[in-house]
């Protein structure tokens, strides 16, 4: 399949190799949450809600000198093409929850709120590639909306390599094409990398 048109240099959706998809962010979308954000990257739509900092609910998990950050990533049943039943605790969700938690913990000033808890819930409403990045961007906005002290804002994007060209911000078709894909999370002002993940599946013969 031609992921990059050799004549025009356009991708399947008409973008150039280093064009991002259109992004849109909105905060304060969940009334009950302390902070919330809706983030869209092209067709990928993600909602994040932050509760906290508040009293730790499970005292055994309390950390005496910093805040406890918990994160839960889930995909809505209707987020992908076929309405599939998604078990919440499946391996991919657990892994992405852990990744988002570690990324956000790097920017939250947890030592300012010892013995408290910050909960980040991210839900994918529409998945079209790059859900991990959209979730991190949404979580950053939600944390800022909640007033959680942060040292910097985290921005994230994915990239891949198809038809011998690096492509920025993969959509679902490009993501499932079988090439490598990398997700990067950067502290915007401090210019430091907090997340770097590469996926590649290769056959024995290639």
């Amino acid at each position: 399949m031609e992921y990059l048109d050799s004549l025009t240099g356009f991708r399947l959706d008409g973008r150039r190799p280093n064009d991002m998809r259109q992004i849109r962010g909105e905060i304060g979308v969940v009334a009950k949450a302390d902070g919330s954000a809706l983030f869209e990257m092209g067709n990928t739509k993600v909602i994040a809600a932050v509760y906290g900092p508040r009293e730790v609910q499970n005292k055994s998990q309390q950390i005496n000198n910093q805040a406890l950050v918990r994160c839960e990533y889930s995909m809505a049943n209707f987020s992908t093409g076929d309405r599939a039943r998604r078990p919440k605790g499946d391996r991919r969700s657990t892994e992405i929850s852990l990744v988002i938690r570690q990324t956000m913990e790097a920017c939250i000033l947890t030592h300012l709120m010892p013995r408290s808890q910050i909960d980040i819930f991210v839900q994918v409403l529409q998945a079209d590639g790059g859900t991990r990045s959209a979730c991190i961007n949404a979580a950053t906005l939600a944390l800022a909306d909640a007033g959680v002290p942060m040292c910097d804002i985290v921005t994230s994007c994915s990239a891949g390599y198809l038809s011998s060209t690096p492509l920025l911000d993969l959509n679902y078709i490009e993501d499932s094409a079988g090439g490598p894909d990398v997700t990067v999370g950067i502290l915007a002002k401090m210019d430091k990398v907090t997340l770097l993940q590469v996926y590649f599946r290769s056959g024995l013969d290639s």
């Binding site: 302390d34 709120m113 906005l141 909640a146 959680v148 804002i153 921005t155 994007c157």
Partner: protein
């Protein structure tokens, strides 16, 4: 003064994040015009700032005392922003970030509305929308002795004053003012309590009196208690 400052800055923040993600270089010259770290100190004052923005570069300012209020922190030689909001300067040298959120950061001498969560032998555990529960000593009432400890049920609404507040301990409250009198502290009975943001609470408590309260007072006789932690209690008296 009937605007909600953060709404505009919320959109600005979201658009700043979006524009930074697209093109970091372009953001530096965007209409926000706030990211160059070697800018003169006053360029960001009264503008919206987001976490990570550098407010002051201390290497350029020797032998000066700067006072930092809420939302700012010192990171080696720079003062950077921790919370999104509007940067304010009180001449000559006090900087802080004015922001409005649903959670509260306890400060000494603040008056807040708390809800009793638990009763212990020495303290009441009170929820004041802070990162941790606050303690209200059972003797922190006017004329309080071991014999006349008030009996508060779980869910009781109290108007209290913050006495101790630092990160490492639970905040401590009191139902007395500095002189030891009850003032208006204590249980708030009847009435109706609702939750708001900290910014709206500050607006209701601003002086001169908030126009909403004045207009309401012309029609009704009511009693209101505004907590700086984003809780408001009103009670109407049938005359």
């Amino acid at each position: 003064k009937r605007h909600r400052p953060l709404r505009r800055s919320s959109i600005c923040f979201a658009s700043l994040l979006c524009s930074y993600a697209i093109n970091p270089q372009e953001t530096l010259t965007s209409e926000m015009n706030a990211e160059t770290s070697d800018a003169p100190p006053t360029s960001l004052v009264d503008r919206t700032v987001v976490p990570g923005d550098t407010v002051l570069d201390l290497t350029a300012m020797a032998n000066q005392t700067i006072k930092l209020g809420a939302g700012l922190r010192q990171d080696c030689d720079t003062i950077s922003v921790m919370k999104a909001g509007k940067l304010r300067l009180s001449k000559p040298n006090k900087y802080w970030v004015e922001s409005s959120h649903k959670r509260y950061v306890p400060c000494v001498e603040d008056t807040v509305l708390g809800i009793v969560v638990d009763c212990k032998p020495d303290n009441f555990l009170v929820d004041i929308k802070a990162p941790t529960l606050a303690f209200l000593p059972v003797l922190a009432f006017e004329g309080g002795t071991r014999r006349n400890i008030p009996k508060f049920e779980i869910g009781t609404l109290l108007y209290v004053r913050v006495v101790k507040a630092n990160n490492s301990m639970n905040p401590e409250l009191s139902c007395m003012d500095e002189t030891g009198k009850a003032a208006e502290f204590g249980q708030l009975k009847d009435g109706y309590m609702f939750e708001t943001s900290t910014g709206l609470s500050r607006m209701l408590l601003s002086s001169p009196t908030c126009p909403v309260l004045e207009a309401l007072g012309k029609k009704l006789s009511y009693e209101i208690a505004v907590g700086l932690n984003g809780r408001v209690w009103v009670s109407y008296y049938h005359s």
